[in-house]
């Protein structure tokens, strides 16, 4: 049995999605055109993950096995729709950036996966911490990926468009395109995520080697 702290921190490195658990790739690839998209999607997912984990773990002994998935999906979908509505109300620009990927949180394997693998077997407190850890790990990963892609692709960093919190790190002349523009295009998404995974693998390999030595 993991301690509560471990339950939380495992999501931040040991099981950080999508790097360690290669899950939730669709949003990871689609919304990380900008830093804002990254953290926005991450936090929205975290919210849904935490709430649905809490509810599912609370209801875990009532749900009949045959309609288990359907029930989980209803619970998750409810929180997704809540997120959708709330974001439309309070962070409309972010909501527009993320577009169809907000409703698609409902089919994010990370959420259903945690619901099944963890929340349906553990208590409310643990499930909350698990959801929070995995969610924040996901947010972190998406934010890093978003920042990297945006910076390489446009030279800018969109922190929060609604509040005009944008940074131009590498200024470009008017009408000029950045060298790595493809980074914000679909191919860049795949390549960038691939490169990040590669980096993680190399780090793990090195630390394993130094541990062995």
């Amino acid at each position: 049995m993991k301690t509560l702290t471990q339950e939380f921190t495992k999501g931040l490195w040991e099981q950080i999605p999508p790097f360690r658990l290669v899950l939730g790739l669709c949003p990871t690839l689609a919304v990380t055109k900008s830093l804002e998209g990254g953290w926005g999607m991450g936090l929205a997912t975290t919210f849904v993950l935490v709430c649905s984990n809490i509810f599912i773990s609370a209801l875990r002994n009532v749900i009949p096995p045959k309609v288990r998935i359907a029930t989980f999906i209803v619970i998750i979908a409810t929180f997704v729709v809540i997120t959708e509505l709330v974001m439309k109300a309070y962070t409309p620009m972010l909501s527009e950036t993320l577009g169809v990927f907000i409703p698609l949180i409902v089919v994010n394997c990370i959420i259903l996966g945690r619901a099944e693998a963890f929340a349906s077997k553990n208590g409310v407190g643990r499930s909350l911490l698990d959801g929070l850890g995995i969610g924040l790990g996901f947010t972190l990963a998406l934010a890093v990926l978003g920042a990297l892609r945006e910076l390489l692709g446009t030279g800018k960093l969109t922190m929060f468009a609604q509040a005009n919190l944008d940074l131009t790190i590498i200024p470009l002349g008017e009408g000029r395109e950045f060298l790595f523009k493809f980074m914000v295009d679909p191919p860049g998404a795949f390549v960038c995520l691939g490169a990040m995974l590669l980096l993680m693998n190399l780090i793990s390999e090195r630390s394993a080697r130094s541990k062995a030595a």
Binding site: V67, A77, V81, I82, K88, A89
Partner: protein, 201 residues
Amino acid sequence: MRNKIWFMAVVLGVVAFLAGLALSGVKGMTTPIIEKRILEQKIKPSLDKFFDGLDLENDCIEDRQVLDLGKDARGRKQVTTLFLGKKGGKTVVAALQTKAAGFGGDIEVLTAFSLDDKKILGVKTLSQSETMGLGARVSNDAEPFIQQFGGMNYSDGVAMRSNGGQVDAISGATVSSVAFTAAVNRATVLVEKNVDSAAAN
């Protein structure tokens, strides 16, 4: 018991029922906020610009009216908001949101009218999802295509030049231009039809 059909139905039904309840609650809470935000952030700046220097007596955002346009072909309820500006107790300007299907989805347009001389004061794209660099140019206020609407007489509606009208299309984005013009035209029709009755209120 957990494998009995009725029990499965009840559990899933109840969970879904509660979900429906919760969602309509959240919907109820967020709708006014969304509405208010759209008014304040999207409509108001444009109206202020269009009606600049007219010294209207009323706050046209406050005095808005919701027009029920009936249902569209698919059965969706259609509404639009009419903004009226008064001067000397008389309605002198109006603005209206309309939309039409463009290349990549609906284009939403806010059109402002000067009622006395039947002229369009200006148009503003509220939302669109057209092709970048082509149809998407409709959202640029400085675009000649947008600029040409200002001061246009609308008593006979507006139409593309190709259809015998007065509007020049954005080259390479005919679909978007046609849609945009259709939306504006729809607004002129609605204004013609509704303003008198609205002004009478």
